[in-house]
């Protein structure tokens, strides 16, 4: 028996409205029914960030194939929440990487300002589209959107860690 896609509860974006957003929670209206305390989750945060599944507690409210098809106001509210849940600084420049007592000390400039953090040796993951995810010793992730467009020095530093 082929796979049953009906288990997915796929929502029609034209029938979904986001009414309210607060930190990681939304108030959602689906087909006229209002759900509060809904938390959006991305099943594929890196490879398909446009897909969102809504949860209320452990219960699945439904899934949007592409949340960008929501009306502008709803999309804005949802993105506000997604930015909290999927907070991830974008690295613009690598200032230095030093080896300190078996760890690596990074100093980088991100879209959120200059940050420094420590990582272990194997800490850079290359995504399918070429983006890089750097993970520090606390498991925090920093993303490099277009590594090939960084300055030469940053690229040299990064190439040592990949």
């Amino acid at each position: 028996m082929p796979l049953d896609l009906s288990t997915l509860k796929i929502l029609d974006p034209s029938r979904v409205r986001v009414l309210e957003a607060k930190l990681d929670e939304l108030t959602l209206e689906v087909d006229g029914a209002v759900y509060s305390g809904v938390r959006p989750r991305r099943p594929f945060p890196f490879s398909h960030p446009e897909i969102v599944i809504f949860y209320r507690g452990d219960e699945e409210v439904g899934m949007l194939r592409d949340y960008r098809k929501l009306d502008p106001r709803s999309r804005e509210l949802l993105e506000k929440v997604l930015k909290v849940i999927y907070f991830m600084p974008k690295v613009r420049k690598v200032l230095s990487i030093r080896s300190v007592e078996g760890k690596y000390e990074w100093r980088v400039v991100t879209d959120k300002g200059e940050v420094s953090f420590y990582s272990w040796g194997r800490c850079v993951r290359v995504l399918h589209d070429g983006r890089l995810v750097i993970r520090d010793i606390y498991g925090r992730a920093y993303i490099v959107e277009e590594p090939e467009k960084l300055d030469g020095r940053s690229r040299l530093y990064l190439s040592m860690m990949i």
Binding site: M1, D4, T7, L8, P43, P45, F46, S47, I51, Y55
Partner: protein, 744 residues
């Protein structure tokens, strides 16, 4: 009995000149020797006897034929074991007959012989199949026997990089030859320039010395470059050969070597071959060249003094031999003492509760002190032992160099030899020693190289055993599988499947049960053509498997193994293995069907989570469900599930089983299970034992039959009632471990 210990105690299909005369004399015309086993005892004395298995008889021969049993009368072979000895015995129609006695050192060989005999008399394996498989096995074993043959083959493999190899050797030899020049120039400087006060020669000699140094630097750079390049080229050549070979091989070979075995061959053995090649093979040429060059130079300078130079060599060789023989003993003891210390520490840490609760701290402290002392003593012994050898060897060298100075000095004083010559001679003398000892090491390392290379050829020489016909075609499977009188062995001796025949209708769901090692997994893999039957036929929808293109078959079948291993990739990628262009929502649907979606969504990176090497970041049950999701996404016509619920807890097992019932509807499915409850929805249950199908039918039919299935079923029921009931009392939940009578 050291001679006998070196000999191969079991020979398969020995050539006529491998047969002892007394065995040859006992054979009838046209009788073929299958196996010859050599005993190390005759009665209760050391001595050699033979047990011969031919295509018609089993013979025991010591001087004369002492026992003779026609194969047709043998019902089974077995070995009885005592403290040091074992006895080979045959069960015959007329009762048991003891054939030969041997020590436990020969047990492995005789165990193989017993298996071969039993394959014939109990397994009823067709003689021709047995012969073919045994010959195959011998072929692969022989491929790594002869060191010289292996080395020649290795060079053949390295042909593409032969120019590089030659250049490396040439440059290395050139460096040594250039190194010979400075002492000669010093001789010229002393004898011709300084002594004779020829200032006009001085710039030339200095210039020549400079030139030699420059050449040396250039050659050394070239040498380093070539060496690096060669090392990389050798490993890459070998590794990619072995790696490519892996893909040609069927799972049969993977199973035979084990994943660890293959792993070490690709990684370790290629490295080892590369290491020995650069450490033994290339230096062999360099050292040989040096011995010749320097030796010749020494002799031309002064033949008598050269004899003195040779003097310490026998002393040193002897010292080295003694060292190698004895050192291992001292070092082994040192290592034993060290592991004592480690074990005391590890006990203290790992069994801290025990040590502390029993108040054993003082005892452990004493133990620790004692093992420290013993370690220190062992270390001192190593020191003393080395001091007994190396000073003596060093003394021999000092003596010979002093003698050279004594005799050479006298000749210089008498004016028979120039001072420069003597100085050059002593320099060359030290240059002579190192290549001589180098050669000894090289030869030893060459043997090790042959061993490592032999292990590589064991893989490289294998013939791909799943072969498709050149005119094979793509087909759309309906799902019928049929295997007929299938025999299968991994190692040529033990048969995992013995004449199995099974017909599966399209869409039929078959449960496969039986004790461990009964051949269930082998049969399941064979039904997907991951193994090729050595005898018998395998057909899909009535078409012989060799006529079906492998790609088209693999697209339509799926297997979920008992302990599935995942790729080092994301969960999504691992699930999408089942379907190249899988849409994200299909991946989610597959995960939901395999009851793993909720768990994945609880991970911060959800489906984009990397699972780590072999899926190490997931638990066994999680891996099993990811693998199941991949198989379901493939939507295969034929699905094999090997213990799909083994790693799951009872609750999840129940859910997954229910889901499986739905997902396997209309799909040919083979489910292997120990927990018989997983099989409740199957159409038919096939019971295997010892490589054969012993029972077939529905659950109810099999229960009525009072056979192996019924015994398995009852054992599981008993297990369930014995696990312990959960009782809820006022204190909360209490688990009662006491066994309860079944009918309580």
């Amino acid at each position: 009995m050291s001679r006998a210990a070196d000999e191969e105690p079991l020979k398969l299909y020995p050539s006529p000149d491998e047969l002892p005369a007394q065995v040859k004399a006992a054979l009838k015309d046209g009788e073929e020797v299958v196996a010859l086993a050599v005993t190390d005892l005759v009665g209760s004395e050391y001595g050699e006897g033979y047990v011969v298995l031919t295509n018609s008889r089993v013979l025991a021969v010591n001087g004369k034929v002492s026992e003779e049993v026609p194969l047709a009368k043998v019902t089974a072979a077995s070995i009885r074991g005592y403290i040091n000895t074992c006895v080979l015995s045959l069960d015959t129609e007329e009762g048991p007959r003891s054939l030969a006695v041997f020590t436990r050192g020969r047990l492995e060989a005789f165990d193989k012989l017993v298996t071969i005999i039993n394959n014939l008399v109990i397994g009823k394996i067709p003689y021709n199949l047995l012969k073919e498989q045994l010959l195959n096995k011998m072929k692969s074993e022989q491929s790594r026997k002869s060191a010289r043959a292996v080395l020649v083959k290795l060079l053949g493999l390295l042909k593409p990089i032969a120019p590089l190899l030659a250049a490396t050797v040439a440059v290395a030899v050139a460096i040594r030859v250039v190194g010979l020049v400075p002492p000669y120039l010093m001789k010229v400087l002393v004898d011709e320039v300084l002594t004779k006060a020829r200032a006009d020669y001085l710039p030339y000699v200095i210039g020549a010395l400079l030139a030699v140094n420059l050449a040396n630097t250039a050659l050394n750079t070239a040498n380093a470059y070539l060496n690096t390049k060669l090392n990389v080229a050798v490993t890459n050549t070998l590794r990619s050969r072995v790696y490519r070979k892996l893909h040609e091989l069927s799972l049969t070979h993977y199973d035979r070597f084990g994943s660890g075995g293959l792993w070490s061959r690709i990684i370790d053995d290629t490295n080892r071959v590369q290491w020995f090649l650069t450490q033994a093979f290339i230096p062999l040429f360099i050292n040989a060249a040096m011995v010749v060059f320097v030796g010749a130079t020494l002799v031309t300078m002064d033949a008598w003094l050269t004899l003195i130079v040779l003097m310490p060599i026998p002393v040193s060789v002897t010292g080295n031999l003694i060292y190698r023989k004895t050192a291992s003993r001292y070092y082994h003891r040192l290592w034993r003492k060290w592991s004592r210390i480690v074990s005391v520490i590890s006990d203290t840490i790992n069994a801290a509760v025990l040590v502390k609760s029993f108040g054993k701290e003082p005892e452990f402290e004493r133990k620790f002190e004692q093992s420290q002392d013993e370690f220190q003593r062992a270390q001192m012994d190593v020191f003393k032992f080395e001091q007994r050898i190396w000073p003596a060897v060093g003394l021999a060298f000092t003596a010979s160099s002093l003698l050279v100075w004594w005799f050479g000095g006298n000749e210089v004083l008498k004016g028979k030899m120039s001072l420069g010559t003597l100085m050059a001679f002593t320099s060359y003398m030290w240059m002579f020693y190192s290549p001589v000892f180098g050669l000894i090491d090289n030869v030893r390392n060459l043997q090790l190289l042959a061993v490592a290379a032999g292990r590589l050829f064991e893989i490289l020489d294998l013939e791909p055993d799943v072969v498709e016909d050149p005119d094979a075609v793509d087909i759309e499977l309906k799902g019928a599988i049929e295997c007929e009188n299938v025999w299968f062995t991994y190692d040529g001796i033990h048969y995992a499947l013995k004449g199995v025949s099974l017909r599966v209708r399209p869409g039929e769901r078959i449960g496969l049960v039986g004790p461990s090692g009964s051949g269930k997994t082998t049969l399941a893999k064979l039904l997907l053509h991951l193994h090729d039957p050595q005898v018998g036929a395998l057909r899909y929808d009535g078409i012989d498997v060799r006529k079906i293109r492998m790609r088209s078959l693999k697209r339509q079948v799926a297997i979920v193994l008992q302990n599935p291993v995942l790729l080092d990739a994301t969960i999504a990628e691992n699930i999408a293995l089942g379907k190249e262009d899988a849409k994200p929502e299909e991946i989610i649907a597959a995960a939901k069907a395999a009851k793993i979606h909720e768990l994945i969504m609880r991970l911060p990176e959800a489906y984009d989570t990397e699972v780590g090497m072999q899926g190490s970041r997931l638990s066994g049950g999680e891996r099993a469900r990811v693998a199941l999701a991949a198989a379901l996404l493939k939507d295969p016509k034929i699905l094999v599930l090997d213990e799909p619920t083994a790693a799951l807890d009872a609750l999840t097992e129940d859910q997954v089983t229910e889901e499986l019932e739905r997902l396997t509807r209309g799909r040919t499915t083979i489910i292997i299970a120990h927990r018989l409850s997983t099989l409740r929805f199957t159409d038919r249950i096939v019971v295997m034992e010892n490589g054969r199908i012993v029972e077939e039918g529905t659950h109810e039919e099999l229960l009525k039959r009072d056979g192996l299935y019924k015994r398995l079923w009852e054992a599981q029921l008993k297990g369930l009632t014995r696990v312990g009931a959960v009782e809820v009392s006022e204190e909360g939940v209490r688990v009662e471990y006491a066994a309860r009578p079944q009918h309580a």
